[in-house]
């Protein structure tokens, strides 16, 4: 593949991930306003917090009558994995100046997944920026639309957007599964996640999968 072809492949990947996950902001906006948050609170949440799972957890607790403390705790537990993503991306992104604030803010499941799946550092950085900025744009716009239009557009599941997100992650994982070690580590990660989802709080199974995967990689051979 030529350099240009490789770059446009990364851009296409990033944008398709951004579109499928960003549009979920419509559900978030609609659900947030029906949970009792104002339009402003809903939009500030998407701009400031910018981590889908954490936002749904926060409005879930608040909408159910929980305290602000409980809501912040639930949303923060879900955000723990983002610290791990920063650890992965730090050596690639090496953020300086204004990027020291912007790069962490854009560090989420999708931008990390697209970035770490690329073969060279420049392509990883490109993947991070396209996906991070793409999701940020779509997600915040969609939040506003959802908060204004309510449930008129219907559930994004109707359009299969949740399956699109699942497919994006398997498509990003696929090219890595060429040797025995990554296959073994992927299987371990999937197993740990499956076993832990019903047992530990949301957001932590992926952290556990990463920890167990790291131990396996550390001890390999």
């Amino acid at each position: 593949m030529t350099a240009d072809a490789a770059r446009s492949a990364v851009v296409r990947q990033g944008l398709s991930v951004a579109a499928s996950t960003g549009l979920y902001g419509v559900s978030f906006g609609a659900l947030s306003t029906t949970s009792g948050l104002s339009l402003w609170q809903t939009c500030v949440l998407s701009l400031l917090l910018f981590s889908g799972g954490s936002q749904f957890a926060l409005i879930g607790v608040l909408g159910g009558g929980g305290t602000a403390g409980a809501a912040v705790a639930a949303s923060s537990l879900l955000g723990v994995r983002n610290a791990l993503y920063g650890l992965q991306l730090g050596p690639v992104m090496r953020p300086r100046g204004w990027r020291r604030v912007v790069v962490p803010q854009l560090t989420i499941d999708e931008s990390t997944a697209v970035a770490v799946s690329q073969s060279t550092p420049p392509l990883r950085r490109l993947g991070f920026w396209v996906t991070g900025l793409g999701v940020y744009g779509f997600w915040n716009l969609a939040t506003l639309v959802g908060a204004l239009a309510g449930n008129a557009l219907g559930d994004p599941k109707r359009y299969g957007l949740d399956a699109a997100a699942a497919a994006s992650f398997i498509a990003l994982l696929w090219p890595r599964l060429r040797a025995r070690e990554p296959v073994a580590i992927a299987v371990v990660g999937a197993l740990v996640t499956t076993l832990l989802v019903p047992v530990i709080p949301q957001g932590l199974p992926v952290v556990a999968a990463a920890v167990v995967g790291s131990v396996v990689a550390w001890c390999w051979k």
Partner: protein, 103 residues
């Protein structure tokens, strides 16, 4: 009022968590064994995200139209379909099944 407190506090904590990952100096991550781990970590993370996005509601394991979408995605990947085609086929599969009343 307490809603605003929750919104702003959760936003600040979220940012600090994201920021924390970038504070570890890069030199710490240069050691050969650490580099092996960081090279392998994406496989564990991506596999975990696949499971979460396909079989979980966050709190429970479920089998719904997303699983069928994933099967179609894997078939498309085996056939070397481009990324966007894989994603669109999976979405169409799930949307089609739901239109028929399943999942």
């Amino acid at each position: 009022m307490s809603f605003w407190v929750a919104v702003l506090a959760a936003g600040v904590v979220s940012f600090l968590l994201k920021f924390a990952g970038y504070v570890v100096p890069a030199e710490r991550l240069e050691e050969p064994r650490v580099r092996r781990v960081t090279a392998m970590l994406p496989a564990a993370l991506l596999a975990s995200l696949v499971v979460l996005q396909t079989f979980s509601t966050g709190r429970d394991l479920v089998l719904d139209a997303r699983a069928a979408g994933l099967v179609v995605a894997v078939v498309a990947l085996v056939c070397r379909a481009p990324f966007i085609v894989v994603v669109v086929l999976a979405a169409a599969t799930a949307a089609g099944l739901r239109a028929l009343g399943w999942g």
